[in-house]
Amino acid sequence: MKINMSHGSGGKQTEDLINRIFLKHFDNNILNRLEDAAVLDIKGKIAYTTDSFVVTPLFFSGGDIGKLAVCGTVNDICMMGAIPKYLTAGFIIEEGAEIETIDKIAFSMKLSAEEAGIKIVAGDTKVIEGQGGIYINTSGIGEIVKSGVSISNCQKGDAIILSGNLGDHHAAIMSERMEIENNIKSDCAPLVSIVKNLFDSNIEVHCMRDVTRGGLATVLNEISSASNCGVEIYEAVLPISNEVRGLCNILGLDPLYMANEGKMIAVVPGKQAKTALEVVRKSRYGENAQIIGHIVDGSGVTMITTLQGSRILDVLYGEGLPRIC
């Protein structure tokens, strides 16, 4: 069955949609009350963020828009030294979308939310004219467990830990869009385990950032600029899978500028680097983590290449389009 304008009318069909899909999957004592707003019990400082998701295709190898919508917001909360608690979800659905598709997406959100330990406590649905597109906005709140984690807090001598392989999400989406057959899967995942374990192990984390749009090079430039420091990384230790490397060679893409949805960097004091690396590697989604570089004097981001040359890394300009030859 397809969505039509009456599903957004606020009447019987809207109620059916909410009951049959969203309440079924998101089921929790706060949402189930169906009040105008969720009433939350939270102590101390909170981290609060929002993000919108418009990905095509809706389903891709390793994930879907629902998983992305939960993990994206969860990870942003985590990066501020917070443990995710509550999430809201707004759906903008174009008429013609299959109800079964929405059901699958909501189920996927439920699974990701459970894994991340976050409750989906409020939501909204709007139906607009169109051709079956689905867009999701999520916003989320987390309890700060470690204050002071910030991109402006990096200090000379700090080590930069990258939690795993670069470029998987971008490569998976490009492959789907271009109908290239391969085994590349999106890395879309909640990073709660890595962050919790770092704090539980008393690592003095100075800064965390998830490596999403713009890629690693862009994130490192943001750090360099906010913390007024230089960043030096080493090409030889960057974790990149052979398949992603191969696809990049064919399409002329650079893994340093490709989006990820389940990768982060943690900037930690140099003397805790090895311990922190072990902690990340033992955490879920952190098994390929590496110490990829350090915070240094100066400004900008420099990469020491495998040949021991130096390459300056700027932010991403424009969109990474596949090249011609």
């Binding site: 271009m178 109908e179 290239i180 064919i250 399409l251 002329g252 650079d254 900008g300 990469m303 020491i304 290449t305 495998t306 040949l307 021991q308 040359g309 130096s310 390459r311 300056i312 700027d314 300009y317 424009g318 389009l321 596949p322 090249r323 011609i324 030859c325």
Partner: protein, 349 residues
Amino acid sequence: MKTLETIKKELKEYDGKNIRIMEVCGTHTSSIFKNGIRSLISPRIKLISGPGCPVCVTASSYIDRLVEYSLKDNHCVLTFGDMMKVKGSELTLTESKAMGGNVKILYSPLGAVKVSMKNPDTQFVFAAVGFETTIPIYALLIEEIIKNNIKNLRIMTSLKTIIPAISYICTNEKNIDAFLCPGHVSVIIGSSVYSEMALKYRKPFVIGGFEGGHIIAAIYEIVRQISNNECNMKNMYQSAVTAEGNEKAKALIDKYFEAADDYWRGIGIIEGSGLKLRTEYKDFDAGSTSSEDVDVTPAGCKCADVILGRITPQECPLFGKACSPLNAVGACMVSSEGACGIWYRNCEV
């Protein structure tokens, strides 16, 4: 045999006469930056980017024709991503798409067959741009169109051959001492053609691969030849390049295309430097480039001087000011293989 470390040390400490090496291929330019090659060699060895980016040398009137098709009812332009941001006399394909134009990005020419069979009511025009590396695939595309009796897909070619361009530079530009020859193109055309060039123009022509180590080795060979007053062709990419090249690919090109004078953006007409569809395949031609093409060079743009090795991208007055990847004035700033774009993205401002 010398180790890579020894070679790197000797190149870093080189204190002979200044050497200007042109790398013809954009993939080499990109790899030189990605591997930090300039930081590994003596400042007396200059690496100059050449005309080997197909997007950078395509005339603006060609882009105009694509834009026009994209805005026409029931038409769709199929293209590689790089072409999206190149300006015609007024618009880019990105801009025409934003105005409602129908443009689809493909990664393989053969994808055009699939999309046109799926949408029989749309007329598709494939923007076939490239050097010898991609031309055999366009020949295969024509074969597929014929085999599947596809009536709604034509190609608009802007196809260039590299040897006439290198000859043009050797004849007209006196400041290049040696050439780092393109790896991919050489796989198709073979190495023997460069032996004739080395003899004729009295310069080293060294074919190199794309890994950092390949490039270092090729530069070392050039420096060695110049220091010993030699000027030979040397194939240092033997795993992929043979003396005669890929005969099958060459035959395929020859079956569908013939040499023609062609227009190079910023340079003008270079005799015999293009390939056009043979007369018997004209029905598949949606308006390919020819010597009739024209180019609107934006005021102040020095792209032509850059690809001829007269100036480095930084020496163009627009570089990093009026012209940047976000607001490209010249084509060389647009493509991932264009010299200016590569220099800018690597902070050589």
